[in-house]
Subunit: 255 residues, 2 copies
């Protein structure tokens, strides 16, 4: 039986999603919990990694395991004895066609910037840019260059092994919206290279404060080469908001 | 020279305000920073302690030290090399009449309750009460019993040594306001006994869900004895919002 799970986490206290020798990753914690519930090791597969400090409102993972009780009992089990900042939101049985990573058709990330002095309560979830005030119109205008299908190599901190030969992605949405002192960059894309959203966020912010221009963004994109002019904005501002799936793959099995 | 400082902190990661042998308290961290700046030990005096996990938007403390540079340079120094979740907001020279604890005339606390499922992002700052839905009108109505000058011994988790013989406090304000899934209890009082705000919050919540009545609250208050019917709501929902001072004591000196 294959199970699709959706979870939220505050990434502040974890070493990212992916299991690693030092432990304390979201995957490690959830797998340990599943091992307890199922009395055997259970391997989980996420829609993708998130780096240390990055948050999620709707990370998705799947795993295979037999379960003869109500799904809500499994959900209850997965919500007990894990840190309160990891929260399984939903669990449902799906067709074995479903794969959390390969069935994903689109992912929405939100990058959060805080202007002026961010309070200690906002600092975990925003890039606090202090007194620098970006021109949000300029950011939105430069974003149009990045929309659509492109080789985004210039906006990857490095090309991960699994991304080699697969650096062309499609951005369906790249919006910059201001709400008071908060500037949110909302992106929906077919996929993302390593630290790509954080690189896009920093590049757009630098356009906003006049350090880069829309033409620079177009030039970098075209060049397909990472330069020092492009930084990665801090992890704490990034939230994996939602993963969108092929509806055929998320159909419940046997119903 | 006496300095009045206002600071905000997210209490999640600290062992409360007050210095203690285990360290990692807000006071320890700020005193260590001041010792570095002034090259000698500096003792700070707060408006009052906050317990482990309790937050502050406007905690106030004072200390005495000679400083011949601009105050903004001291502020900058105090904001460097401390955890990001402790933030000195303001620093100003005051008359030596000023005492962070004894000059305070009123303190505002906000207790935050989250109905339904709180996200991992809200859990640090709210008491998450799950599926229990309080009647906010009933809470507000019961709050009227507590307004004004009373011996609040029944709402203290214990009577601290320094509070003995001083258990009469005045609540100038005790409001219960709902904003969507968030219920805030806002109190302004002359002072508070140990865990008093958290006890008031739990008692009002229990009125809201029908476990206690307004008459019970009046009876407990009158009895001046703590009973098991009164609990302390969790620390993470509590925020020290603002400390109000005698304006004569906060006057700048020499100006």
């Amino acid at each position: 039986m294959r199970w699709k799970c959706t979870c939220a986490y505050d990434g502040t206290d974890f070493n990212g999603w992916q299991s690693q020798p030092l432990g304390n990753t979201v995957q490690d914690i959830l797998e340990a919990r599943l091992a307890y519930i199922f009395k055997k090791p259970v391997r989980i597969h996420a829609s993708g990694r998130t780096d240390a400090g990055v948050h999620a409102r709707g990370q998705v993972f799947h795993f295979d395991a037999e379960w003869n009780h109500a799904p809500v009992d499994m959900l209850r089990g997965m919500r007990s004895n894990v840190p309160r900042t990891i929260q399984v939101i939903d669990i449902r049985q799906v067709s074995e066609l479903f794969h959390a990573r390969f069935s994903a058709v689109k992912k929405r990330y939100i990058y959060q910037i805080h202007l002026g002095q961010a309070s200690p309560f906002d600092l975990r979830y925003f890039w606090s840019v202090g007194s620098r005030v970006p021109d949000v119109q300029k950011m939105q205008d430069a974003a149009t260059v990045l929309l659509g299908k492109h080789d985004f190599s210039a906006f990857a901190a490095k090309i991960a092994t699994e991304d080699q030969g697969d650096t062309v992605k499609t951005l369906y949405r790249l919006d910059v919206v201001q709400r008071g002192k908060k500037v949110l960059i909302i992106t929906e894309g077919s996929g993302y290279l390593y630290k790509m959203v954080r690189s896009l966020a920093a590049a757009l912010f630098h356009v906003g404060i006049g350090k880069l221009t829309k033409a620079d963004i177009a030039y970098f994109l075209e060049s397909r080469v990472r330069t020092q002019a492009i930084e990665s904005a801090p992890a704490e501002g990034l939230i994996l908001d939602k993963v969108f799936y092929n509806p055929n793959h998320t159909r419940l099995k046997n119903v």
